[in-house]
Symmetry: C2
Subunit: 631 residues, 2 copies
């Protein structure tokens, strides 16, 4: 792995940190510049290191799993949208490729501290945290931090290290208790939410990674980045107005009209008071300001403060769309304050809001069906719409109290334990709960849920409302030149999904935020201006395809097969009411789309990437690997 | 086919001309803008119309074949490199996809006359020519032109139509006599050389298409095109100096050192006096000037004038590299004047210089081996190095005199007729003779010869010298980031071949000349500036892949199979002397490379494009076609 650097690429530090917790050892490794260009960073690095270094079949919560924090070339520069990092490991929720991105300031600070990524391996004997500062790193005792909520832990770390500008990525008690969908939390309010990476930190007795650095990231063409930054500011209202002014969920209630709002565990289609949860309502009521990530002018993050009936501390930010929908309508709830409180508890405990809401919705439906009873819930009336019970349940999950201990395992395992037909209400793909977007409406997204290497996921997916009408213009830059109807699940839709996901994954590797309005050209310009490479959109799209295929290869090696690329049965029937009450996903079409997806990706009919495709993607080594996985 | 135009795209006229010679009927058809964006023009249009309109199995020299002349969006604008058009039909030489591009002024004039392409179908009862002028067209008698050399025919046409600026694409007596490698000639000196398209004209009794127009081609962003034009002029010496100053073959003798110069029918590797044929020598001796294509500042075309021992008329231009090598060293000849004369005769008769030289080299080797005797050659001493005999033989081929009648059929058919083991010396792929580049040296090119839909071809191919050393930088823009040795025939080489050919075919469809130094970005900028589309290099690369796959689909439908994707046996042994006397192409590696090529292209192990790949390329209709060809 350790290769002599030929030259230090712009946009990178050229080195990564390896922390072996079992051996209590930290080392620095230099990466070859070819490796940087081939995998870029972020999700690309996660895929590379997991495939290269993980033996198949390791216990995600055991010492042989590895946890990777990776920045990208743009991270820590000054181009808006650069404030993200990727976190990855074999997922304890799915057993598959685990990866999520997170905003804030931590990624930029890591780059400023002199490293492009951190690989954590092994397991510490007792709780520790890692302190990375200006090209150095050390492992420190975290006995006094263990059990602490994220806010308190961050405060203590900053105090004991004597620097209030230290950035902390960490887990709260949820991660410590190995909640299988625990998230990794940056700066208390931004999270790498999906696939349970917080539980991997917990399993390693790793409470936090604190970073501080003063290095500037050299870029080749700062003027070009400045020009783009100015363009964004000058065109903010037009190109990012909604996110800038309201953040996500601005027009939350529109989702009821379209049918996109998951309601009562994706069962129903009517929800009377969605407006109570909209970004506009939030601005007019509980919001005290907006926050943003490092060097970003959009500042899309709501900050809310509430004093009664619950105290919601603004240091934990505010709910994004996914939290609003998952803890709100998907649990039948329209109580904004309750949702804000639940969201805040998730951030205190480091719980993924999507899975948390989804698992509670599952429990509520089981409760209403009599599968779970008051005896199971300690007399908590776990009915749809019971906001108090929802908030209480979030805390119980974080503490693994009572039924919270079962729900902390995620819907798949909870249903296995519960039995009595509860599987029907456990909505997941590969064990991961669904994000808050309706596959019965957005058919590309449904296919994307099924085939995503991370299980149901909205960050490597296509929200296909954009393929109808004039917004096809954006896609025409990739040669998708004709509108594709929402209900289409045919090859044209699959192609659009693939192209779009390739681009998403490129962004997850560069670590440019998807909320930025950068088009294909501007993104290519950013890559060039940062790195000095002569990259084209072809090269960048191929990086996305490469990383997607590597994630697939990882899953194949772990024993996943086409049977795992499927949607929950619920989506093959319409909702009980509302705009989707007469439409649903056709399993025949889904199966066909899945096979089309495989074939278009250059995978065989079982979804196994073929050698020539791997070679075409310049990753022939994946097929050559002694961990032979290409059938 | 006729679809209402939604809007008139910039860079196009929006309409094409259809000439049915059997029915003596001309009509105008409007093309949908989606069709323009999907197939672009040029080779893309040829592939589209041949696949859509040709029944499988038609006689290439019968009335059911169709001949397509197609311009691209840039044709007739003022960006340097725009002066090309594509010509296509089912090839009488190969029976496969036939296509070639040609420079000059004719393509631009066609656009200025109001049409983007001409489809000629059927067969005229007697010789005719088509006269296209300012949105109109007519079929005119050509009885008085038939049998005339190109120069005289052009003169008569201009005179009788009363306009000396009329541009003529035509055939000479070689095309009329159905020489199977007759070319289509623009402006007397530029030719669509390969695949025998001139014979298709001849078979239709179509002597010429004369065009004249006064329409300006609207482009979206003329300033950008001006900027690029200025850049080229300002950087001419650096980016196109060799072609600008000397044209092709500037340092002809270097090819002897590298081993790239085909010598005596690709048999030997030594050639003493190659310098006698170099661009530098030509400038210092027979050259009287340089000429160029429409609106091009490079002006790479040599004009030579010779008075003894032969008269070489400068109106026929001068020899390009392919002519110099094919009629020169490949026939063992170092007599520059003889080569210039032979080249001129080819242009008078409309014969492809590559195939003409190759077929004569074949005959010379047969003569030396005693397979052909003086009786066969009418006492012509057809030995390697006999310049007089070579010149004479060119004329005999053009007139189908004596053995010229057999050689006019191309090496494959000539060897079939000749027998006696002459097949060994008939160097062709799919029936088309090899261009003047050594597959034993350039291994990508060798693979490219084998798999090209047009048979051995250098215009859809990769000259892989550029993959070694620092010139890999150009390719890194596509993600080919590490040098690949010349001798490599593995997946990395195949990938580079595929990517590069995709880009070549894009240029053959846009009709931007490959001699222009436009990089991927500048080409993308040109497309945008001309059309107003938001195209990316991804979209453009995919167009190349699309058209390549369509050409393949055409061939599959015509019964071609993987056995046809192969090199002549000669290349599996070294040359008798010279730099390649200890190296040759390994058939095992070639076979592996071919299969890798298929798999990377999304074709099955028999080279048949698979449905999902066709759908991914947005040409699902090729699989749906009633002419079912996808197995």
């Amino acid at each position: 792995m350790i290769v002599v650097v030929k030259f230090l690429p712009y946009g990178y530090n050229g080195k990564i940190l390896r922390v072996d917790l079992s051996k209590d050892k930290i080392s620095t490794e230099f990466l070859d510049d070819v490796l940087y260009r081939r995998y870029i960073g972020g999700e690309g690095f996660v895929a590379y290191f997991l495939l290269k270094e993980l033996e198949p079949g390791v216990d995600p919560l055991g010492p042989d799993n590895k946890l990777i924090y990776a920045a990208g070339p743009v991270t820590g520069t000054f181009i808006p949208g650069n404030g993200r990092n990727s976190v990855g490991a074999k997922s304890p929720l799915t057993g598959a490729f685990g990866e999520a991105e997170v905003g804030g300031y931590w990624g930029a600070e890591l780059k400023h501290a002199g490293f492009d990524a951190i690989i954590v391996e092994g397991k510490a004997e007792k709780p520790i945290y890692v302190w990375v500062h200006d090209e150095q790193a050390e492992i420190r005792d975290a006995g006094h931090l263990w059990g602490k909520e994220t806010g308190e832990a961050q405060k203590i770390i900053r105090e004991e290290l004597g620097d209030n500008l230290i950035r902390v990525t960490q887990i709260g008690p949820g991660g410590e208790r190995l909640v299988r969908y625990a998230c990794v939390t940056n700066d208390l309010k931004d999270v790498a939410g999906r696939t349970g990476l917080g539980a991997v930190m917990g399993s390693k007795n790793l409470k936090a990674v604190a970073v501080r650095g003063h290095k500037k990231i050299d870029v080749v063409n700062p003027e070009k980045l400045k020009e783009l930054s100015r363009w964004l500011i000058q065109n903010m209202e037009k190109v990012a107005g909604s996110n800038h002014n309201f953040g996500t969920g601005a027009n939350f209630e529109v989702n009821v009209v379209s049918g996109n709002l998951p309601t009562r565990n994706f069962r129903d289609g009517d929800f009377a008071n969605a407006e109570a949860l909209s970004g506009v309502t939030i601005r007019n009521t509980v919001r005290i300001g907006m926050d943003g990530c490092y060097a970003c002018s959009i500042r899309c993050k709501k900050v809310v403060k509430i004093t009664e009936p619950w105290n919601v501390d603004p240091m934990y930010g505010g709910p994004e769309y996914e939290a609003l929908a998952s803890l709100g309508p998907n649990c039948g709830i329209d109580d904004l304050k309750a949702v804000c409180k639940a969201n805040e508890i998730c951030n205190r405990y480091s719980l993924d809001v999507i899975s948390t809401g989804a698992v509670i919705a599952f429990a509520m439906e089981c409760y209403e069906k009599g599968i779970l009873t008051d005896r199971d819930t300690d007399n908590l009336k776990l009915t749809f719409g019971n906001a108090d019970a929802m908030v209480k349940m979030v805390e119980m999950i974080g503490k693994r109290q009572g039924i919270g201990d079962i729900l902390a395992e995620g819907v798949r395992r909870a249903a296995e334990k519960t039995g009595k037909g509860s599987e029907e209400f456990a909505l997941h793909v590969k064990g991961q709960e669904l994000p808050m977007h309706e596959p019965r409406l957005k058919r590309a997204l449904g296919i994307g849920y099924a085939v995503s290497p991370t299980g149901a996921d909205h960050q490597h997916n296509l929200h296909d409302m954009g393929l109808t009408g004039p917004s096809i213009k954006k896609f025409s830059a990739l040669g998708i030149i004709e509108p594709i109807p929402l209900e289409d699940m045919g090859p044209r839709k699959v192609r659009a999904l693939i192209y779009h996901v390739d681009w998403c994954v490129l962004n997850n590797s560069l670590l440019l935020c998807g909320f930025l309005p950068w088009d294909y050209d501007q993104t290519t310009e950013i890559v060039r201006a940062v790195t000095g490479w002569n990259s084209t959109s072809w090269e960048l799209m191929k990086i996305g395809e490469r990383v997607t295929t590597m994630a697939r290869a990882f899953n194949i090696r772990e024993g996943f097969s086409k049977e795992d690329d499927w949607l929950p049965k619920r989506f093959f029937s319409p909702t009980t009411s509302g705009p989707l009450s007469e439409t649903s996903v056709s399993p025949e079409k889904l199966q066909k789309a899945r096979q089309t997806y495989y074939a278009m990706m250059g995978w065989n009919e079982n979804g196994v990437p073929q050698r020539a495709k791997l070679e075409e993607l310049d990753i022939g080594w994946v097929a050559e690997s002694p961990l032979e996985m290409v059938k």
